[in-house]
Amino acid sequence: MLSSYLTMAAILFCIGLYGALTKRNAVIVLMSVELMLNSVNLNLVAFSKYGVVPSLTGQIFSLFTISVAAAEVAVGVAILIALFRSRGSANVDEFNEMRR
């Protein structure tokens, strides 16, 4: 059963990765990142039940992940709004400040 969950998580992760790499709207990129984080959570919980050493720690780990992800989304959306205000766009490919 474990490998089914892991495969499921891999599928989710890769879809999220593809979205994060290709989508131009920053909000959707953020959503894709959330998808990837979720796939990790699925892994953690699956291992907590079917892992080599089954224990509750995996679930606790996923709880921490969820809270950190929540904080990340909050800050991310705040940054997006700030960027949108200053640049008038939320398209990722229009930001190339790192080049300078």
Binding site: L17, A20, L21, T22, V29, V92, D93, F95, N96, E97, M98, R99, R100
Partner: protein
């Protein structure tokens, strides 16, 4: 007897060297005085060398002096000079011809822009040639040997704006280089095999005089390699091809370098290292046969040439062949005697030819004619030179050629026959040359005028020498002191009466034939051409030697050169360009990757991760 002046013999080459340095430093502003300085330098050499010769004739001891030049470990290179009878004689010949040519050139080169450069080169040549003559070891001789080669190159290409002159200079340099490589190898072998690595001529004579010190095979090898150098310098077959082309240089240069002195350096070299040749019969035979073949080969080409200087050039090649033949027969005396007389009459002929060219501005003998009436001095002196070359008694050429032929008859009848045949051809082509140029009616209105005194006086002096130079060694009882003085033993004189008769008859026959053909017209000129056109063509094209060399060496070497060039350009250069280009290309690609787009960076990270994971996973499979 004491040696007083011989101690100062080292000054002889120094005078022209000083003249050369002065001309080199201040030459540009000395169009008038420059030639005078060079002439004075050669005059000083002439006077001093004449005094040295007189002292040597008076029976002075041989003199040798020198100093250490470089010390390499336990070996010392020395620089020194040798005054022997042979070198004293050569010094006088060289400085005399050089002086006369200098005087002559004042008139001949009067209108040239670069006259001071010309005289500087001539002075440098005179210095190097005299240095070559008095050098007391082979290494020094080799240095001066290359220096005269350099001067020859510079002077042949003096009119470098003429493409033919440029090509001829290159050809002379490259062809003689082939021989020089042989000489250099011989030098290295000698250095290797000589006790104490001593390269002085005295030591060479000493070592090779005794049997068993050096094996016969090595001796022969060294001798042949030295002879190879002489072949290149003296224009012997098969390296003779550069000498006729060298006539593109100014005519005084042809007289000085390519008739009287430098080309005789090969003969001189063999004479100087003669103990090596004496120790190897095989090498002597080679020298004799190459010389004999060259003598008749070049004489036959000379018959079919139309350029006055080329005829004389082939004649020079042929006469040098005679000298080599004499050396091969073991007679240094005869060879040096012929060198001595030949220097005068061939220089005379060249200077006469220069006078003619100066007057009519062409070198084709078919465009000349009847010049005997307008250029009396030139014609008379030229006639003397031609008769001397043809071997008509009592002129100098007769005696020296006679000495060689007598040696040949004594040792080797076959070589004697070849020598006689070559003598016939010599007389024929000289009479053809003389009659076409000076006799008959003027053609194409080229009347000509006599050259100025500064040019005719050297002709007269040389003509006098050409007449009398032979009297130093006559095959009569009590007159053969020259040979004894020069080498210690007299020339062979057995059967001389026969030789004298035959050679005179042959010479006269040749001249008579020439007269019949070119003056009287009793024999039509195209008699041979009509019956055997291939023969005339063969001679005109010089036996296609140049063409063969072109096909065999030039084309193949050029092909190899092209191949290497292509390899260098495309493979080596391509690799270099590829390395550089790869760096640039990588840099460009990397620059384009740095586009500031977060997603691009993310993609690169993912690709890197994929590659890393694939590598780790893939390790299972091998």
């Amino acid at each position: 007897m004491e040696t007083v002046l011989s101690q100062y013999a080292w000054l002889v080459p120094v005078f022209p060297l000083a003249a050369f340095l002065i001309l080199l430093a201040f030459g540009r502003g000395m169009k008038r005085t420059g030639p005078v300085i060079a002439t004075l330098g050669s005059l000083a050499s002439l006077v001093l060398s004449a005094l040295v010769l007189i002292e040597q004739l008076g029976g002075a001891d041989e003199y040798n002096n020198g100093f250490d030049w470089i010390q390499i470990g336990g070996y010392t290179l020395t620089v020194g000079f040798d005054v022997t009878n042979l070198t004293a004689l050569m010094m006088v010949v060289v400085s005399l011809v050089a002086f006369l040519v200098n005087v002559y050139s004042i008139g001949y080169m009067k209108d040239d822009e670069r006259i001071s450069v010309f005289f500087a080169y001539v002075a440098l040549f005179t210095c190097s040639m005299l240095g070559l003559v008095i050098a007391d070891n082979l290494l020094m001789l080799y240095i001066f040997w290359e220096l005269v080669g350099l001067c020859s190159f510079l002077l042949i290409g003096f009119w470098y704006y003429k493409p033919e002159a440029k090509a001829a200079a290159k050809k002379a340099f490259i062809v003689t280089r082939v021989g020089d490589v042989g000489f250099l190898i011989a030098l290295l072998l000698l250095f290797w095999y000589m006790p104490d690595h001593d390269l002085s001529f005295a030591a060479i004579a000493n070592v090779f005089g005794q049997t068993g010190l050096i094996t016969e095979g090595i001796t022969t090898l060294i001798a042949i390699l030295i002879f190879l150098g002489a072949v290149g310098k003296s224009g012997q077959f098969p390296l003779h091809v550069w000498l006729p082309d060298a006539m593109e240089g100014p005519t005084p240069i042809s007289a000085l370098i390519h008739a009287a002195t430098m080309v005789a350096a090969g003969v001189f070299l063999v004479a100087r290292t003669f103990p090596i040749f004496e120790a190897s019969p095989a090498a002597l035979d080679t020298v004799a046969w190459v010389g004999a073949f060259t003598a008749i080969f070049a004489a036959s080409i000379a018959i079919a040439q139309d350029d006055i200087k080329r005829i004389l050039a082939y004649s020079t090649v042929s006469q040098l062949g005679y000298m080599m033949m004499a050396l091969g027969l073991g007679s240094v005396t005869a060879a040096m005697f012929h060198l001595f007389t030949h220097a005068f009459f061939k220089a005379l002929l060249f200077l006469g030819a220069g006078s003619v060219i100066h007057a009519v501005h062409t070198q084709n003998i078919h465009e000349m004619g009847g010049l005997g009436k307008t250029m009396k001095t030139t014609a008379w002196t030229f006639a003397v030179g031609a008769l001397a070359l043809a071997g008509i008694p009592p002129l100098s050429g007769f005696w020296s050629k006679d000495a060689i032929l007598a040696e040949a008859l004594h040792d080797h009848p076959a070589l004697f026959a070849i020598g006689i045949a070559a003598a016939l051809l010599t007389a024929l082509y000289m009479s053809r040359l003389f009659f076409l140029v000076f006799a008959g009616k003027p053609r194409k209105g080229a009347s000509g005028h006599e050259s100025p005194a500064v040019m005719t006086v050297p002709l007269v002096v040389l003509a006098l020498l050409a007449v009398v130079a032979g009297f130093v060694e006559m095959p009569f009882e009590g007159t053969g002191w020259f040979g004894e003085w020069l080498t210690g033993h007299a020339a062979a004189h057995e059967g001389t009466a026969l030789v004298m008769l035959v050679s005179t008859a042959v010479g006269l026959l040749g001249i008579y034939l020439g007269w019949l053909i070119y003056v009287k017209g009793a024999i039509p000129r195209d008699a041979v051409t009509k019956r055997m056109p291939w023969l005339t063509r063969l001679l005109e094209r010089k036996y296609y030697i140049d063409e063969i060399y072109h096909a065999v060496f030039v084309v193949s070497l050029r092909a190899i050169g092209r191949a290497f060039d292509a390899f260098d350009r495309h493979v080596v250069g391509g690799a270099v360009r590829l390395a550089g280009g790869a760096a640039v290309w990588t840099g460009r690609a990397a620059t384009r990757m740095q586009n500031g787009q977060l997603q691009s960076y993310g993609l690169y990270a993912v690709i890197g991760l994929v590659i890393l994971a694939a590598a780790i996973a893939g390790r299972r499979f091998w």
